[in-house]
């Protein structure tokens, strides 16, 4: 179950400050890297919501992100709608598609759920790949940037764009954290731990899982909008299952079921990739080693592991019968 502990808040703020200063004081490319991190982190938060709390390891989150980006691009670039309503349509499309996938896969679990989401994701990928109206595999351009000059923001300035992206990341985290500690989010954790008992308590678990997928689609849709706004060009590449696989690696690397972990994981993975690819083309092997090491080290992920250490330190210092206030038990439990 999710608790927004002090340690999590501090880590998140530290991470955001790090990203902001990396973008401000670093080179131009540093901003590109930060935007890449932002997109991946939001996608990973959305996946953590499903996988970490709901036990639904989805391989279609990249596709959902892509659906939002494409819906946004179709409305604005192809049909000439204004940007803001187009963005809303984009988010709506992601919510609907994601909710539908969640609804029809509600009876499947484990590897079967993974494969079912893979199937739906690849169907969406194939659809856009083959659509000649949308440029097929070559992708489509002609997307324009939001004009926020009315509120004094110059979106074509890469630094402003990066800051705004960080704002969206914070928003995505905040919304997800809010939902995960609400009755809805905790019930999702309950379904993950014991679906039968949750049913006996009168919760329609299938509908609940579908709703969770839909909400997660909203968050993934935010990532899709930033991706489309960043490159002003989208291609089916966004939807392919390996994009979801990368997000999953990020979640694991950072810490499953912690929401802050995915942000940390995205920072680590992207920086690692760029640092290593400066030296060698063989960075896949390195990522593979890191992944194996993470799992062998207990599978808690970098943030999850630190949190675990802190908690065991704390409980050693405390009288075990001493209750914490306001129902704040040890965090870091993977439920």
């Amino acid at each position: 179950m999710f608790y927004q502990t002090k340690f999590r808040s501090i880590t998140l703020i530290a991470a955001l400050i790090f990203l902001a200063s990396y973008a401000s004081f670093g080179s131009y490319f540093a901003r590109e890297i930060v935007v890449e991190i932002i997109i991946l982190a939001i996608l990973a938060i959305s996946l953590d919501l499903c996988a970490g709390f709901g036990g639904m390891v989805s391989l279609c989150h990249g596709a959902i992100m892509g659906v939002a980006a494409y819906a946004f691009a179709i409305m604005s670039a192809k049909l000439g709608w204004p940007l803001f309503p187009s963005a809303l349509i984009g988010l709506l499309a992601a919510v609907v598609v994601s909710g539908l996938v969640g609804w029809v896969t509600a009876r499947t679990n484990g590897i079967f759920f993974i494969m079912a989401t893979l199937a739906f994701g690849q169907m969406a990928y194939t659809f856009f790949f083959k659509s000649r109206w949308l440029g097929g595999d070559d992708g489509m351009g002609g997307i324009s940037r939001f004009d926020l000059s009315a509120i004094g923001l110059e979106m074509n300035n890469s630094l402003t764009f990066t800051y705004l992206g960080l704002g969206v990341l914070l928003l995505a985290y905040g919304l997800t954290a809010m939902v995960m500690r609400s009755g809805f989010g905790r019930t999702l954790s309950g379904i993950h731990v014991n679906e039968d008992r949750m049913k006996a308590l009168g919760v329609n678990t299938a509908a609940h899982r579908a709703k969770a997928m839909a909400f997660s689609g909203f968050i993934a849709g935010l990532a899709g909008l930033i991706a489309a706004q960043h490159t002003l060009y989208i291609s089916p590449e966004l939807l392919i299952w390996t994009t979801s696989g990368e997000a999953l690696i990020v979640v694991i690397l950072g810490g499953l079921g912690t929401l802050v972990g995915p942000v940390i994981g995205a920072i680590l993975l992207v920086l690692m990739k760029h640092e290593i690819s400066d030296y060698t083309d063989y960075w896949h092997a390195f990522i593979g080693l890191v992944l194996i090491f993470t799992v062998l080290a207990g599978g808690r992920g970098v943030f999850g592991q630190i949190e675990y250490w802190l908690n065991s330190l704390r409980s050693r210092h405390h009288d075990p019968d001493n209750h914490q206030t306001a129902g704040k038990p040890q965090g870091g439990d993977h439920a």
């Binding site: 199937a119 169907m123 992944l291 599978g299």
Partner: protein, 288 residues
């Protein structure tokens, strides 16, 4: 479209099904017994192809490659078993998927380092080059060989599982590992042997496919999805499921390509989705 056309397409479908069968059977047997989702199976398949190409280049004989590559791949598999697989057995499916996904990345780069990025090919044996008359049509001899190989492995496995002592032990362990251990079956040795057998089949599939398909660094990742689909549609861990899954996918992809080519790209995914919604455990789920 006369009869010979359909016979040809039937043989095409059989050939593809048997290739899928060789690949998925190892994966499903390992899952059925060890409850281990070994994604690195696809990498072992790739290693089978590349090692086969090297052995053939070294010895000048396809058959040397055909027999040696599975052996070498088995050795690699045994190494993996002792370093990673064994200690991951009780770690849960999520961790297994992640660790073996990491292995896929590592094997990908090992192959790029050793063999380069350029796609390679392997010549089939001279004795099986050209076409043979079969069922009234001229059909590539090597493809007939693949069909025979697949059917051979299928029969052998059926025989082992249903008629031999070790088969009985495997079946007992699949149904209830604890019970089998209590009955005096050395379960850990059995696991290791079955794992090696699965790896050998992956290597065999790799080297057998190499004369038809080229060896590329991404062949492991691209074959992973169809293999998983076969195994999941059939029902993870069941031999009958792997047979049914590979034949369904093989025939559907072949005849999909013939009759509704513009949909053939999504056909498998649609089938997978439909099967999982209809039967969330696959068509023929394993017991135990």
């Amino acid at each position: 479209m006369d009869l010979s056309f359909w016979i040809l397409q039937f043989l095409n479908a059989m050939q593809y099904s048997m290739l899928l069968f060789l690949l998925s059977i190892g994966l499903t047997v390992i899952f059925g017994l060890l409850h281990f989702v070994n994604l690195a199976h696809a990498s072992l398949y790739m290693m089978g192809a590349y090692i086969g190409i090297s052995v053939a280049a070294l010895t000048g004989s396809f058959w040397a490659a055909f027999f040696l590559a599975p052996v070498i791949v088995t050795l690699i598999g045994a190494m993996l078993y002792f370093t990673l697989i064994d200690r991951m057995r009780t770690a849960g499916p999520m961790n297994q998927v992640l660790v073996t996904f990491g292995l896929i990345f590592i094997f990908l780069d090992l192959v790029r380092m050793g063999w380069g990025d350029i796609a390679l090919g392997l010549d089939g044996p001279q004795s099986l080059s050209g076409t043979t008359r079969f069922l009234g049509v001229d059909y590539p001899a090597y493809r007939l060989f693949i069909i025979a190989l697949g059917l051979g492995v299928m029969t052998t496995m059926w025989f082992i599982l249903s008629r031999t002592q070790i088969g009985a032990m495997i079946r007992a362990s699949v149904e209830n590992t604890d019970m089998a251990a209590a009955m005096g079956i050395n379960v850990s040795t059995l696991f290791f042997l079955v794992f090696c057998f699965g790896c050998a089949l992956a290597g065999l599939a790799g080297v057998a496919a190499a004369p038809i398909l080229s060896a590329t660094t991404t062949m492991g990742i691209t074959i992973l999805i169809p293999t998983l689909i076969v195994v999941v549609i059939g029902g993870l861990g069941s031999l009958e499921g792997a047979i049914a899954g590979s034949i369904i996918i093989g025939f559907m992809e072949t005849f999909g390509a013939v009759m509704i080519p513009s949909f053939s790209a999504v056909l498998t995914y649609v089938l997978l989705a439909v099967v999982l919604i209809w039967r969330p455990q696959g068509l023929i789920p394993a017991r135990g």
